[in-house]
């Protein structure tokens, strides 16, 4: 009986190690699951451009690396016609960049004609001939 005791202790130790390992894996899975749920539910996933297939193109990277000094309208100091003139000039530049996208979220992108599923005979025949 005395000789069996150390054997039992080793077994118990290895079992505890196994339990610890499994518990760690379960905790890791649970926390990862919660993180992914928050990431998805908050909508951050749709703004994440680091996802495969959503990486920014070269032009965007160039624009990001542009070291031009950013304009910030000062909350203090005098309010003059000149300062407002500069303000309008700078805001105009930002607006121009917004207008680069002529029709953002244009619904035509999801139209039947676009997908070639229009039941209009002329469209249908044209699209099917393309394939």
């Amino acid at each position: 009986m005395d000789e069996e005791k150390p054997k039992f202790r080793i077994r118990e130790g290895s079992r505890n190690l196994l339990v610890l390992g499994l518990a760690s894996i379960l905790v890791a899975l649970a926390t990862t699951g919660v993180s992914l749920a928050i990431y998805h539910g908050s909508g951050d996933i749709y703004l994440d451009r680091s996802r495969p297939g959503f990486l920014p193109d070269e032009k965007e990277i160039e624009d990001d690396n542009n070291d031009e000094e950013e304009y910030d309208f000062s909350k203090t100091g005098d309010l003059t016609s000149e300062s407002l003139g500069e303000y309008l000039e700078k805001i105009g530049a930002e607006v121009e960049e917004i207008d680069e996208y002529e029709k953002p979220f244009d619904t035509k992108v999801l139209s039947d004609e676009k997908f070639g599923i229009s039941t209009d005979d002329t469209d249908g025949s044209d699209d099917s001939s393309d394939d």
């Binding site: 451009r49 000062s74 309010l79 016609s81 930002e94 917004i98 992108v109």
Partner: protein, 173 residues
Amino acid sequence: MTRRNIFFYYSIFLSICLVLAGLTMVFPVEAANKKREDLIKERCETIKDDLKNVQREDAKVRVHLGSKYEIILNRFIMPLNVKLVEKNMSNADLVENQNNFVEAKTTFSNDYIVYQQQLEELVAMDCKAEPGQFYEKLIKVRQKRKTMEQDTMLLRNLISKHIRLVTRLKEKI
């Protein structure tokens, strides 16, 4: 033929006409739906690829516009209104426009999440097995995209209004 009989036959004739008219309206719609479902099945993979491209392009547009709206609000609209308050020149129209802009920007962000969730569900659908349901979902996604289009138009109009108000203010100073 009594008057009652005439009325009876006339009612039957009218009912038949109505049923025929109904059928002529229903059958072409059903035929069109069937044709569309066949086209969806046939072009399923191409449609999915197109939808994935739309997702990618939308992410690009959303990030670009979102950052620009943020810049316009935090570096232009808000500092100007703070300065006007400090100089006791607060302009009610500019403040109201700022509040509208903040609200519209929040709506834009929330609508985009809903729109993308629906688009994601659409991409995940099996258009070969369920073309009818796929098309119904596509219609819903289109409506959400229309909302997004309206949101961006509203924000653009609010920016234009802000510029008009500032131009007027500049002329007064």
